[in-house]
């Protein structure tokens, strides 16, 4: 079946089997490898991306379900050559070791801050509770999200 998904503002059309998972459409058909493919069982959360602005685990959604919808991946965070504060936060606070969980952590972190600009540590930990860092670097991931909360983009930069 033909599926068209607007990914980071660009429509991507592919002929895929209906059973194709969204994570594979994004990585293989759209060629965007920033979204990682991990446990396949909606436990690890490295495949988190946004569908219509809401984070989902893309290993547990069919590409067909996203047909006609807007997807945002980790590649869509940076705007005009400027890293999103959530990305900068992971740099500043050493929020990654091996980097495998990072795209999902950043997509969830950005979504949290969009809905709750000043989350407590408990709220951050709750929000990433469906995502696993096997380097166990949670302390720095939380610090990275806190850094991003403290350094929102100014309007001049986003304009």
């Amino acid at each position: 079946m033909e599926v068209t998904i607007t990914i980071n503002g660009t429509p991507v059309t592919s002929d895929v089997e209906p059973r194709t998972l969204l994570v594979h459409f994004v990585r293989e058909n759209a060629g965007l490898r920033g979204t990682h493919w991990g446990c396949d069982t909606s436990n690890c959360g490295t495949c988190v991306l946004w569908v219509d602005g809401s984070p989902v685990k893309s290993c547990t959604m069919l590409a067909a379900q996203a047909d006609g919808h807007e997807v945002t991946t980790v590649e869509g965070l940076e705007q005009g050559g400027v890293l999103d504060p959530i990305q900068q936060g992971f740099i500043e606070c050493h929020g990654l070791q091996c980097g495998f969980c990072t795209p999902g952590m950043m997509m969830t972190g950005r979504w949290l801050l969009d809905n709750n600009p000043n989350p407590s540590e408990v709220e951050i930990r709750d929000c990433i509770s469906g995502q696993i860092c096997r380097c166990t670097g949670y302390k720095n991931i939380v610090a990275s999200i806190q850094w991003a909360a403290e350094h929102p983009l100014t309007s001049e930069v986003t304009a």
Binding site: R19, T41, G45, L62, T108
Partner: protein, 289 residues
């Protein structure tokens, strides 16, 4: 790599359209709501439908509203929407307390109440909530709609009274002025299925329990409820002694299995203790209201 077996995909344009598709494809069709149980089961070949009928475009199945003396929750309302609903929170704190411990925030964005009920997992938390509150469901087929009490909804694990060409469209909960409610869950790790969970509502008036409902999940409680414990409490003062006796009756009616989440005696202990805790808090909340 886990991928579902080949399957066809159709998007329903209305509830009527979905029912027509179900009638056309028979029991080889499955309705796709949040997909967070169905797709993993398809990956494991525990489910192998020939066609998925996607309900996600059906706005008629969304929304939480008050209708008369009932709260009506559309079948496609997500866990996240239940967690955030001021209407549900105003009448029953059990919803927030249960939803906070169902899966994780990302999964809660997709999973739906209708999907949870129809999946009928014997460890489903929302099934215990629905049974505790003595809710009902609306089931629609080409012949029309019927209402069914949630305490009569489950045939057994993963089996419900929804027919092959029927759709669960709404879940309804009676509003009970003055009711207090609570939910408690013990899980091995955040977001996991429960080792055991209990929920309850209690209406205390004139110093006695006027009405109550007790729900349990993951411990083999028939229809996720504890009717003997409820009957014991009605008309009695909500003393610690009476609540404890009711909690014991609730646990006595449970038949849990030993599995990787714990042995039978531990689960029975949890059924007793969690029931007692939710009864205490529901009573306090009702008396404070």
């Amino acid at each position: 790599m886990q991928t579902p077996a080949p399957v066809e995909y159709a998007r329903a344009t209305s509830v009527g359209d979905a029912i027509a598709l179900l009638e056309k494809h028979g029991d080889e069709a499955r309705l796709l709501a949040g997909g967070h149980s169905l797709l993993p089961m398809m990956k494991l070949r525990l489910a192998r439908p020939e066609i998925l009928i996607d309900l996600n475009d059906l706005d008629e199945l969304r929304g939480i509203r008050i209708e008369g003396d009932e709260i009506v929750v559309g079948a496609m309302v997500t866990h996240a929407e239940i967690l955030d609903s001021p209407v549900l929170a105003e009448h029953y704190s059990i919803f927030r307390e249960a939803e906070k411990v169902i899966a994780d925030p990302i999964v809660r964005n997709k999973g739906t109440i209708g999907g949870s009920m129809c999946q009928a997992d014997p460890s489903e938390d929302l099934s215990a909530v629905g049974s505790a509150l003595k809710g009902s469901v609306i089931i629609q087929g080409s012949g029309g709609k019927r209402s069914l009490a949630l305490r009569e909804f489950h045939e057994g694990p993963y089996e419900t009274k929804v027919g092959d060409a029927e759709i669960l469209t709404e879940v309804r909960f009676p509003i009970r002025p003055g009711a207090g409610s609570a939910y408690e869950k013990v899980e091995r790790r955040v977001g996991d299925w429960p080792v055991a969970s209990a929920g309850a509502f209690v209406v205390v008036a004139g110093g006695v329990v006027k009405d109550c409902g007790i729900g349990l999940t993951a411990v083999g409680a028939e229809h996720f409820c504890a009717p003997d414990a409820e009957a014991f409490l009605i008309g009695k003062a909500p003393t610690e002694e009476n609540l404890s006796a009711a909690a014991k009756l609730a646990a006595d009616a449970c038949t849990p299995y030993a599995d990787q989440r714990g042995p039978v005696d531990y689960k029975l202990h949890l059924a007793h203790e969690l029931t007692l805790r939710v009864l205490r808090r529901a009573v306090a909340s009702s008396q404070g209201a």
